[in-house]
Symmetry: C2
Subunit: 600 residues, 2 copies
């Protein structure tokens, strides 16, 4: 399956357009300012400034911000934004080495160690720079960085693939692999695909450097990639790697690599993924742990890992289109990824816990030496601020993930209000999702339309050109042969439903979550007081959804109340309460407090 | 209230006698061997041996082992044990400094730093040496160490109280305070009480040294002690301190200090104690955390903290006898403390979790850099091996905690089969506890007998000299005026009961524990398979207790079974299961596995 060029997709009025407008109005500008004041852009000038010594991964922050800008510039003129982009691009181009190499940290602080330290993110930064170079060129916003990055990619090719004179074989943080595939697809230069392939295949075949605290699976270097069948180690690293594996498996039609990708995907979504689509069950290495280990309060579930899972889903669907990839994309997008940003567009979460206990956070903050604890409110910038610009670039690029094409087959994979024109057809989607189940698809042209039936669908009714038609559903798609102009009105039944975790997930035993369509709901103490853990929801019948400023589901519930004793033979009393649930992605917008997803 | 001299108490056939026999036959000997092979006893020779460099707290390990031996030698001749004691005592006496100071680490490795480093346990070690000196003398086993420790205490008095030329005011790890009270009670020398009092009162009044990772409340130095109303910091440190505070409050009839002790006790048992009597909710500082924070798997609940809580209960009862102190003593003894030792008497737990997840332990072990994780099987010796000899000395001294006296009032506080003779009476207890509710008390003499009604009692029937009598209960004691010979047969109704934690304990929300008399029960995967968290106990009616090799309660329960999906709209199916519960203190004696106390 091929997906659409995002430039051909117009995002129309609706939920995602609102997200993009906030992104453009607030987030991209605000991140620019935070990065400016922390010296990230200045660092690209490659001038020694010990007071603002760059982190080894600052180039990647800059690149992801630039990539966000590239997608915006593809849509519309914005002189100020273009000026900002040009200045940064000029700095990168001007300050790279004659041989094409660019790294604002290594050139200034450790020139003698270029490509010597596997753990220090050089190829990771290079990958993001390559990605943005392709994006800027594709957006018609810049060619200079593209030319520079071709040079840089050639230099990497020469050092790692031809001369093999570097201090390591594969990067400690995957990203270069998928970037090289992107460069290959933009340039059609096979050497970049060869290099991506080489980086994949060399992984796990050498004793390679690692951080003192880590273990080979942290870097996904414990086995050759095609022997990897379970998701291990740092979640973002892992998912970027798997994304590149799926890319190469598709392009090279490599069945063995495709099998590894399918096994990894199955391991993640079958054993290691939060209900929000989040991954990474521990802060220790920001990593996958073992099957069914999904702690809620101490989840890691990094925003970048959510984005990386969405990318992996996209690549898997391109490799072999199945509805499940879009289901998981939908889950991780509407829940884990969107939770990464505050309603005002300024604040970000790096870590996305599924439960918040304010008292635990406050206690931890009171200690001189803190332990890991998720934060209860989003912040504007982090020391390691990878997530904010990753989120802004992702939101701008959502057009990529709505439509698919395979021969005469046309797929609507996400019900996001939008339109697209292809050589043979024009399609538009007008959708209430995620807050309602209705969508109208207009199609003009010829082909077989495949409309994905969401996993949460509780029954669908369909009208074609105003006439009720029983949908023909197979493999979770409604199939409609079209020739001419069609208006298909879909009404997926959306209602609040309990979701139960597998019995092996001990952290959720005896509890259930509430979903409303694609949305995982949560309750906050702002609406429901403290001790959310004592709230039992006997039934969702009578639950009422209300779309106010905040989508809210009102549910009749009961709260278990005990007397004052720490331990008692008296069973708790049941007190009726009206519980208010909101989308998980909306949590933590009303000050510090408690939050919960899994209910008695 | 005064308690009995343990030498006057004969422990008779029954549960505790079995414990003591195992202790004498196996544990004390086995710990001796482990300490011998790790160089702990050799260290007392104060010869530099860098291959076996002593830990700063080894003297305290040795002292607690000696104290265990002292209690045994008070009961019976044991030439081998006596020889071992004499050799160690001779080494300590021979190698102390001319001024009385003794510390096997500082004398050899840092003589220039004597009494300069607050955090390094010098006074803690001194305290344990003083305690054993008193114990050996009291047992009639040795006078030399007592004389030496009087000299040492005088030296401490001189340096800290008179000259004040030391590098700190109060010890980083309380223990010296309660040891000095013990020395005062043995010697009647008021200066030792003054010094104990001084150490208490100075605490929290100075900026004092701390470890880099800690905070003042870790050492209970955040406030003057009489202003401390909540239990804070390292649990063993805290509870040793509170024990000494209660001692001094009683001896000096200090109402202000007594109030602080009562507030601290109330804070612990009302907000910070596990159902097992364990304390310390985090490995980070082995510390109390905040009210109602009682994680089960990541509990710390150190064996030494259990013993320290028992000591605090004892001192509180002496300060002001109330049944609650004996209730908590009973809880912590039969559950937290006894869980510290394996059935064979060789293995020990330092940490006593209330839940075990083998998969989490195995995963953690597989990492190069491990996080804190409780161990699923007991070991014979730890690097910091404070708990094993603390447990052996505690078990040998249980005679202290059974009877109480206050004027003509005679208290039976624990139903442990035993007998005692006083000047005016002889009393014996024959009891089935903890596995049954019957006890026969024989009394000869005159006075008012007060027989404690356990908190778990479900109804008591009583016969006095064979005749049924309605018990006169007030403040949880059955009061019987006695003059002559009495046989009182008590039958406390014992049955399995659910216990519910306070609604604020989020880790236990929606769950309940099962108690059988004084015993907290648990289930292990050895009997019940994996996924204990999915087991729901609808009712305890029909639960059957069986006293085999292992006390077992058979309970009809249901297991929630899901299909294979990670998340599903299908509610779990209920499968009937026969659940086998055993006493918590018996867990982890049948290999690695899962364990759980709190059930759906």
């Amino acid at each position: 399956m091929q997906t659409a060029d995002y430039k051909n997709v117009e995002i129309r009025a609706g939920f995602v357009r609102d997200l993009q407008e906030r992104n453009e109005r607030v987030s991209v500008d605000n991140i620019y300012k935070r990065f400016r004041e922390t010296g990230r852009f200045e660092a690209e000038k490659c001038k020694r400034d010990d007071a603002h010594k760059p982190h080894i991964f600052w180039d990647s922050d800059v690149a992801k911000w630039l990539e966000s800008a590239a997608y915006i510039l593809a849509k519309r003129q914005d002189a100020e934004l273009k000026g900002r982009v040009e200045e940064i691009v000029a700095d990168i181009c001007a300050n790279r080495r004659a041989d094409g190499y660019f790294n604002s940290y290594f050139q200034v602080y450790e020139p003698e160690n270029v490509f010597c330290k596997r753990t220090e993110h050089e190829l990771y930064c290079a990958g993001h720079l390559i990605e943005v170079a392709v994006a800027l060129r594709d957006a018609g916003a810049d060619e200079k960085l593209y030319a520079a990055m071709l040079r840089y990619a050639d230099y990497i090719y020469d050092r790692f693939y031809v001369k093999k004179d570097t201090g390591f074989y594969t990067c400690g943080h995957p990203e270069i692999e998928l970037a090289l595939v992107r460069l290959y697809e933009a340039s059609k230069e096979k050497k970049y695909l060869d290099l991506a392939d080489y980086f994949l295949e060399e992984r796990g075949r050498h004793e390679e450097e690692s951080y003192a605290f880590t273990y080979p699976s942290y870097h996904q270097s414990h086995l050759p990639v095609r022997e990897q069948k379970t998701a291990e180690g740092h979640a973002v690293r892992a998912l970027y790697l798997y994304t590149a594996m799926a890319d190469v498996a598709r392009i090279k039609k490599d069945a063995g690599l495709a099998e590894a990708c399918k096994a990894l995907f199955a391991d993640i979504v079958g054993k290691k993924m939060y209900i929000t689509g989040g991954t990474g069950s521990t802060y220790h290495g920001e990593a996958f742990t073992f099957a069914y280990d999904l702690p809620n309060f101490l989840a890691y579930s990094e925003t970048c890992a959510g984005i990386a899972l969405a990318l992996f889903c996209d690549r898997m669907a391109k490799l072999e289109n199945r509805a499940v990839y879009h289901e998981i994309f939908e889950r991780v997008f509407y829940n884990n990824i969107l939770a990464g940003e505050s309603r005002d567009g300024k604040g970000f979460f790096y870590v996305n816990p599924l439960e918040m206990h304010e008292s635990a956070y406050d206690y931890n903050e009171s200690l001189k030496t803190k332990l890991f604890c998720p934060i209860p409110e989003r912040v504007e910038v982090f020391d390691c601020s990878c997530c904010p610009p990753n989120l802004t670039r992702f939101i701008e690029s959502i057009g990529k993930y709505i439509y698919g094409f395979e021969g005469d087959e046309i797929f609507v994979n996400q019900y996001i209000s939008s339109s697209i024109k292809t050589d043979t057809a024009k399609i538009s989607v007008r959708s209430e999702m995620p807050f309602g189940g209705k969508a109208v698809i207009r199609f003009g042209g010829r082909g077989r339309l495949n409309l994905r039936v969401p996993a949460w669908n509780g029954g669908v009714s369909m009208k074609i050109n105003g006439k009720k038609v029983e949908p023909d559903i197979s493999d979770s798609y409604i199939r409609i042969d079209c020739d001419g102009d069609f208006e298909i009105a879909l009404d997926f039944k959306i209602k609040a439903r309990f979701v139960y975790a597998n019995e092996n997930v001990w952290q959720d035993n005896g509890r259930k979550a509430v979903e409303y369509g694609a949305l995982v709901l949560c309750g906050e103490s702002a609406d429901n007081g403290k001790n959310l853990g004592t709230v039992r929801i006997p039934s969702l019948s009578g639950a009422k959804a209300a779309k106010g400023e905040l989508f809210t589901l009102r549910v009749s519930a009961e709260r278990l109340r005990t007397d004052g004793a720490l331990y008692s033979y008296e069973p708790p009393k049941k007190e009726k309460v009206a519980l208010r649930l909101i989308p998980y992605f909306c949590w933590a917008n009303r000050g510090k407090g408690d939050m919960q997803i899994w209910w008695l």
